[in-house]
């Protein structure tokens, strides 16, 4: 059960139950839809960007606890950040959830994202944790086609 608790930390379960920024935004400057055809997860990310800064960010959709919590945490930490910072955090997060399990990861560097450190022990769940972030990048690039994790 230890590894399971690493994956399903209380913070993740809380975000799943009461997700933050869970609403459809009126007049977003950027948006994109992401889809994981294997498990049917679907997420939509909305952004308001002004002068390269994320003024507001929200999401909607349905998915497992990991994907919902990932969206909730992502939108929480990105509000007020610059696009460059968002892209930097994307890279950092990707490393956190995909790093080899034998590699030492200093979770202190990751702030609120650290709760996702357990994902790398569950390779089948990496896509759940990554979908909203990939969709975010898609939205920032203003691409209109749907993102899939396949």
């Amino acid at each position: 059960m230890d590894e399971l608790r690493d994956l399903y930390q209380e913070v993740i379960l809380d975000h799943n139950k009461n997700p933050k920024n869970y609403f459809q935004m009126d007049e977003p400057t950027h948006s994109a839809e992401g889809h994981n055809p294997l498990c049917g997860d679907q997420v939509e990310i909305f952004l308001k960007v002004e002068n390269d800064k994320i003024i507001d960010i929200s999401f909607q959709g349905h998915g497992c606890a990991i994907s919902k919590a990932a969206s909730s945490v992502m939108t929480s930490i990105l509000k007020g950040k610059s696009i460059a910072e968002a892209k930097y955090l994307f890279e950092k997060y990707q490393h956190l959830v995909t790093a080899d399990i034998n590699e030492a990861v200093n979770v202190d560097e990751y702030g609120h994202l650290a709760v996702f450190a357990g994902v790398r022990e569950f390779p089948m769940r990496v896509k759940c944790a990554s979908l909203s972030w990939h969709t975010l990048l898609q939205a920032l690039e203003n691409k209109t086609e749907m993102v899939t994790t396949e």
């Binding site: 498990c39 049917g40 349905h62 998915g63 606890a65």
Partner: protein
């Protein structure tokens, strides 16, 4: 083995079914995953393989591996006899009239694609209609969509009710003079529904319409007699009936197979080739281009021997009791909702838990050693029909036990505890 083979356990009651003895034939079941005994409840995705099948593959590769229908040498003769012997075995297994009606394919999907492509090219014109049901696997939807688009034909869908059963009156209403073929699943992989095939086929035939039956989820659980069903085409996969992956069977009535143009061209399917023209081979070779999957055909034959030795009546009785027990134990769980509650069902039980996504259930069950399928089960329209993104599916084989169902239930309570 023929259809006169004795059903060794036919008159034994389910309670006398020696499941422990059967489990010894499946070495894969003896392992632990994540430190827990493996409880394999994903049989609708693929079934496990008994030792005798793997032994047959080994024997083929070590003792008589060679191409069929070609060499005059000894090994080729043995391989050809084993390959064609399996065709006869399957003819008797399905009670087909002739071994020419048995075509080896890559699997169910390949069989449906063969008929869709060949039927489409040979017999479908603009405005024609193909009828399928709302509970089809993607493999019995997409090949028809592709063909309909190519030929300018239309796909019509038989709706299903809240229990996951087809609405027969609606089916009746869909059949008309433009209907060229009905393609329907025998047993649903995501709902477990067993369709009333005789009625479906009789009605189609009364309007002169042929019927293809997707039997992928039927053959593991029930005896199929294609003449009794009177279906025109029947397809199934080896890997769901305890045989190797990558092989399957298409049964087709001879008059239909003769009428249809070949699917793929190549070696083995020809009688004579010049650059001007080719004379196609007779049935069944007309539909088997290229060197076939010889080893796995032979392996499938041994898997069928194995099933017949256990006996379908014993299998059905035992599995019905397993499913009854699974449904009863699952019903005790608060917040659990079944997706698919057909009166006649086999193989699989699908459900959703309040406030927990199936994907999370699957991960937690896996850590308890319990293998289930979570997702849309390649039946997205079924998920849309029941307004769920995905379900958790436990699917059974005759080597499963009530103790394993108890372990599933215990693991589900762990899920609920974690998410409460």
């Amino acid at each position: 083995m023929t259809n006169t083979t004795k059903d060794f356990t036919a008159d034994t009651r389910a309670s006398h079914f020696d499941v422990e003895k059967i489990r010894k034939d499946f070495p894969i079941l003896q392992q632990e995953v994540h430190g827990k005994p493996l409880i394999y409840l994903d049989n609708a995705a693929t079934s496990q393989t008994p030792t005798v099948v793997v032994d047959a593959l080994r024997k083929y590769y070590f003792e008589y591996n060679s191409n069929v229908h070609r060499g005059v040498h000894r090994l080729s003769q043995i391989a050809t006899d084993a390959y064609e012997g399996t065709r006869k075995k399957i003819q008797h297994f399905l009670n087909a009239k002739s071994n020419e009606e048995i075509i080896f394919t890559k699997g169910t999907t390949d069989g449906i694609n063969l008929i869709a492509a060949s039927f489409g090219r040979g017999l479908i014109k603009q405005g024609d209609e193909i009828v399928i049901s709302a509970m089809e696997h993607h493999s019995n939807i997409v090949p028809w969509q592709m063909m309909c688009e190519e030929r300018g034909a239309k796909l019509r869908i038989i709706p299903i009710n809240d229990n996951g059963e087809i609405i027969f009156e609606a089916y009746e209403g869909l059949l008309n003079e433009r209907t060229k073929l009905v393609s329907i699943v025998h047993t649903s992989n995501s709902l477990g529904t067993v369709n009333p095939l005789r009625e479906i086929i009789d009605l189609a035939h009364s309007k002169g319409v042929p019927v293809l039956v997707d039997g992928a989820q039927a053959v593991p659980h029930t005896h199929v007699d294609v003449q009794a069903l009177d279906c025109d085409f029947f397809v199934f996969s080896s890997h769901k009936v305890f045989g190797p992956t990558g092989i399957g069977v298409l049964y087709g009535k001879k008059e239909w197979l003769q009428k249809l143009p070949p699917y793929q061209g190549g070696g083995d399917m020809i009688l004579n080739v010049t650059f001007e023209s080719t004379k196609f081979n007779d049935l069944p070779y007309k539909f088997e281009a290229g060197t076939p999957n010889i080893a796995d055909v032979i392996g499938l034959g041994v898997a069928i021997d194995y099933i017949q030795k256990v006996g379908y009546s014993a299998i059905s009785a035992y599995e019905n009791e397993l499913i009854r027990y699974a449904v009863q134990r699952l019903s005790e769980i608060e917040g659990l909702r079944f997706i698919g509650q057909a009166k006649k069902r086999a193989g699989a039980v699908s459900f959703v838990l309040e406030n927990v996504h199936p994907h999370d259930i699957g991960t937690i069950l896996d850590r308890e050693g319990v293998a289930v399928r979570t997702g849309h089960h390649c039946t997205q329209p079924v998920m849309q029909r029941f307004k769920v993104p995905a379900t958790t599916r436990a699917s059974f084989a005759f080597y499963n036990t009530k103790e394993e169902i108890d372990a599933l239930i215990k693991a589900l309570y762990k899920v609920i505890e974690m998410f409460s």
